[in-house]
Symmetry: C2
Subunit: 333 residues, 2 copies
């Protein structure tokens, strides 16, 4: 163990993608623990689109990351020093550790203890907040019924890929994914069992949705916003549910664009609803138990896209916006 | 009774407001009735924003009005000739009679019989589809709870003015109306009992909403869309319900503008839902009974804005978009 550690702080607020001037790699002294604190050596970072929203000086569900503060982020690590009996040395924990090699946790900044013998990558993806977002967002907000047509945008992403698979398990009649490359589309259909996939970079999404969803879309799970949301709104079935999970096409925009086809909510007597997985923390056990069963039973496949090195965390975040990743993006420290 | 009658047909699809070239006033021969038909002399037309949407060649909840066809519209009239026992001569009926002096009704194109002795104007406003839109839209979709903050756009219109009053009766803590003149705002507060009103032509709507709704908006009932919807979205309370009743600011636009602040649906775990009063036809009796009680008890006030002459129906429709009216616009033939 060294006496110093590295961390990434927000140097200035980005416009558009996170470029090198956005972040500053700092060296800091290993913190001395107060009573009740524990020190975590961070091994993996969970890279999520929402981190980009925290970098803006805009109202949100959490305060913006302050300038010169460590970038807020989920992470997984091992307790290396402890003055808190809840976190003995050697324990694996998951929580809001930040883009840093060392993090201090305590009763005020708690972390979840991960049982021994659990593979850390799925903890950050399918069994973690990402998988739970798919599970509760689809089932609680989207409420798919047997035979429904379910469409997912950002379908090759960490959340979208799980949403489509849960829809299929729950008896959806048609599951269509929208993604950004032919390889991703092939993965969705051939490996994950989606009925069909649309490459939004090369195909007319609205026209293809009309073709693939002749009875209209019953549940649209949106990670993207923008033109893709509008294409879906133009193809809703009666009483459709539009789940607003994210709007990754808009987070980098100075002036976001709203869904011009939202009036179809009237014509189709449909609803559009947002949610945050934070509200479901007390139901994670239920979702995780179900997800364990599906993953162990081979009904749900997941993929992680691991990027090496704390210094590449900004690039890893950008991937979510350029669509270079397939599955969950994780940074390995 | 004459042998000819006048009717307004759609000559070409309008862009923006309905100008004289949009409509053609035709003279036609009095129709001969087939078995099962009845002839109605139309006395009043219900002028509703939705008529403007039917003039566009765009998908909607009803097919567009065809070129050279009579403009589709609610209306009230008296049966003057009948070959249908359900509609004896002398009966007052209400239905989709169209912008015409004479209309044929039958089992295929039915109309509702209005009991004798009922004042016709409220039948077209507070006891008709307009009042029912306010009633079911607010209570079924908006689901206001005791103490809630309820905000209504188009608040001096036929629907909006009733929405605010029902909210107040149902125990809303704060009821704010958004309207287009100081006179309308004064009417809302002084006569209808709204807590406050915002003149969107002279005030900063978002800033005023922040001020008047410090705990955020629980129910936003939107007739307008555009910037006003965005201002409301920027001020939602947690778990807010945004009722999309109409989008009058957008119906005249070639390329509509979507609500750029829709992402606050995520942050506030809120929903935006559309509805059509057509779906509530079988519950009208329930809504009308309640509305009768409130109107007779002096708890709900309503106002009709009567325009004289079939030939002015187009101008009357335009009023809804320029905001010249207060209350329900009705054309008297």
């Amino acid at each position: 163990m060294t006496d110093t550690y590295r961390r990434l702080v927000l140097a200035r607020r980005p416009t558009g993608n996170v470029d090198p001037s956005t972040l500053r790699l700092e060296e800091a002294e290993r913190p001395a623990l107060a009573e009740g604190e524990a020190l975590v050596e961070v091994q993996y970072l969970s890279i999520d689109p929402t981190i980009r929203t925290w970098m803006n000086d805009a109202p949100g569900y959490l305060p913006p990351i302050e300038i010169d503060a460590v970038v807020r982020s989920g992470g997984l690590g091992t307790v290396v020093e402890s003055r808190n009996d809840d976190y003995p040395v050697g324990t694996t924990v998951f929580g809001m550790l930040g883009w840093t090699e060392l993090a201090v946790i305590s009763a005020d900044d708690p972390a979840t203890v991960v049982p021994e013998g659990i593979d850390p990558l799925p903890v950050l993806s399918v069994f973690g907040a990402t998988g739970m977002t798919a599970y509760f967002g689809l089932l609680d907000i989207g409420q798919p019924e047997e035979g429904d047509t379910v469409v997912v945008s950002g379908a090759a992403g960490a959340t979208g890929s799980v949403v489509g698979q849960i829809a299929r398990i729950k008896g959806a009649g048609t599951v269509v994914g929208i993604a950004g490359s032919d390889e991703k589309c092939a993965w969705l259909v051939d490996e994950l069992g989606f009925t069909a996939a649309i490459n939004y970079r090369t195909e007319d999404v609205a026209a293809r949705l009309r073709e693939l969803c002749p009875k209209g879309i019953d549940v649209f799970f949106d990670n993207v916003g923008g033109d893709i949301l509008d294409a879906a709104l133009a193809n809703l079935a009666m009483k459709a549910r539009v789940v607003i999970c994210g709007a990754i096409s808009q987070y980098n925009e100075r002036v976001p664009v709203g869904p011009r086809n939202y009036v179809s909510l009237i014509f189709q007597r449909a609803r559009m609803e947002g949610f945050l997985i934070l509200d479901y923390l007390d139901r994670f056990a239920e979702g995780q138990a179900q997800m364990f069963e599906w993953v162990l039973g081979g009904q749900i496949h997941h993929r992680e896209h691991v990027v090496d090195g704390l210094e590449h965390a900004g690039d890893a975040l950008n991937m979510l916006f350029t669509g270079e990743n397939t599955g969950k993006v994780i940074v390995k420290l």
